[in-house]
Amino acid sequence: MTETVLILGGGQAGAQAVLSLRQQGFAGRLVLVGSEPFLPYQRPPLSKAFLSGALPRERLLIKPEAFYRQADVECILDTPAVSLDAAERQLTLADDRQLGFDQLLLATGGRPRQLQCPGADHPRLHYLRTLDDVERLREHFLPGARLVVIGAGYIGLEAAAVAVKQGLKVQVLEAAPRVLARVTGAQVSEFFAGVHAEAGVEIHCNTGVVGIDGDPDTARVHTATGDVMEADLVLAGIGLLPNVELAEAAGIACDNGILVDDLARSSAPGVLAAGDCSNHPSVIYGRRLRLESVHNAIEQAKAAAATIAGKPRPYNQVPWFWSDQYDLKLQTAGLLEGHDRALVRGDPQSRSFAVFYLRDNRLLAVDAINRPAEFIAARTLIPAGGQLDPARLTDENVAPQQFA
């Protein structure tokens, strides 16, 4: 009997799993189920080049339609799954279809965390995760429009950068004391706050949102500090929630994501998980991680495919991330939690510098702003785990390849 592998989730991890399974020689039946009406597409440009209109929709696809035909993949799009019977190995879709499987990869991703305040159903309030989200947002994303961004994370700041360049009036509200507080250190936060201010974005930190009202065409955003901001458009980028409900209801262990081992296997035999929805053990950091990144989606999906194909290859990589804002490319390698020192290499004024996050002189993470060589070096130095000489890291006469 032919083996059936189902991939639930038509995002970056789902697309990669399809590709990797066929590359690994899996010859059985392969079904990709996605809840959106599109073949897997790239999400990173949604808050960048696609939002600005520089990249047309057709160029977002991760692989062309022909690829799925050639790889003999059954694609079921626009159809969420509603329940999973892990013991019987059966998945039920929203159209009542039942799909049996031998192995299932959950690549269900995440959804934007929703505002919980009164008025969170205002028609001009948007989130940014899917192609449809952006198309709706773009209807009012016009020069002169007033945009209030709630949350100064990657999504909020990337959108703010695109918006101000296109002539929108942009205000950003952040509940934390600094921008990008969840993902970077104080130096990089300060730098990006400065860059946005210079570009004409008004940033208000320590400013939570308590409610939204106003007529359907104008949102009035009320802040915790008592201000009211009128907006034609409100974008909330306040984090992602992993889509774990299906797994949880099926009795699969979840704790901030679907718990998997380093081979991407969940607690249910025959069920694996990869990407934003999963939570995996990291040998490098000695703890469990749930990552929201393209790199994690791709590499964990490769590991899952290897496990399914019977050629297991543990997943253990240094996480990395990037963000494009204006002329700046921020590349982050590693995770900075637990650092006891942050060393700046180069002058932030020059818009090209790196920050090294160390604990006991071992490298935990690097933020590199227009500094690719430092970023590349860090991806080797972090897993190597050796002690580094702080003086060399900040000495511009020492090339990044010579840090160790």
Binding site: R59, A66, V294, H295, W320, A373, F375, I376
Partner: protein
Amino acid sequence: MIKVTYIEFNGTERTVEVEEGVSLMEAAVNNLVPGIDGDCGGMCACATCHVHVEAEWLDKLAPMEEQEDAMLNLAEGRDGSSRLTCQIQATPELDGIRVRTPIGQH
């Protein structure tokens, strides 16, 4: 349309027609050319679209930026002909260009 020929390490050649302005990475992915992944979607961030450009075409390419140069250090078998295809846009001057995909990407 600009003709681009991708040559696999085993000598298999594939010529595809590319619209001006599209990168050689995107063209490869869209035409199912093996050996060019483009994991990061063309952000010059992953080095999975490394090729060796045949000598006569090297000088016709726009010079490498710092980002590409740094990323190429991640690619296996980098040499003087190495480029990342996500950073090469198809232009009329490149009509007929030939690039070889490295064995490590297959």
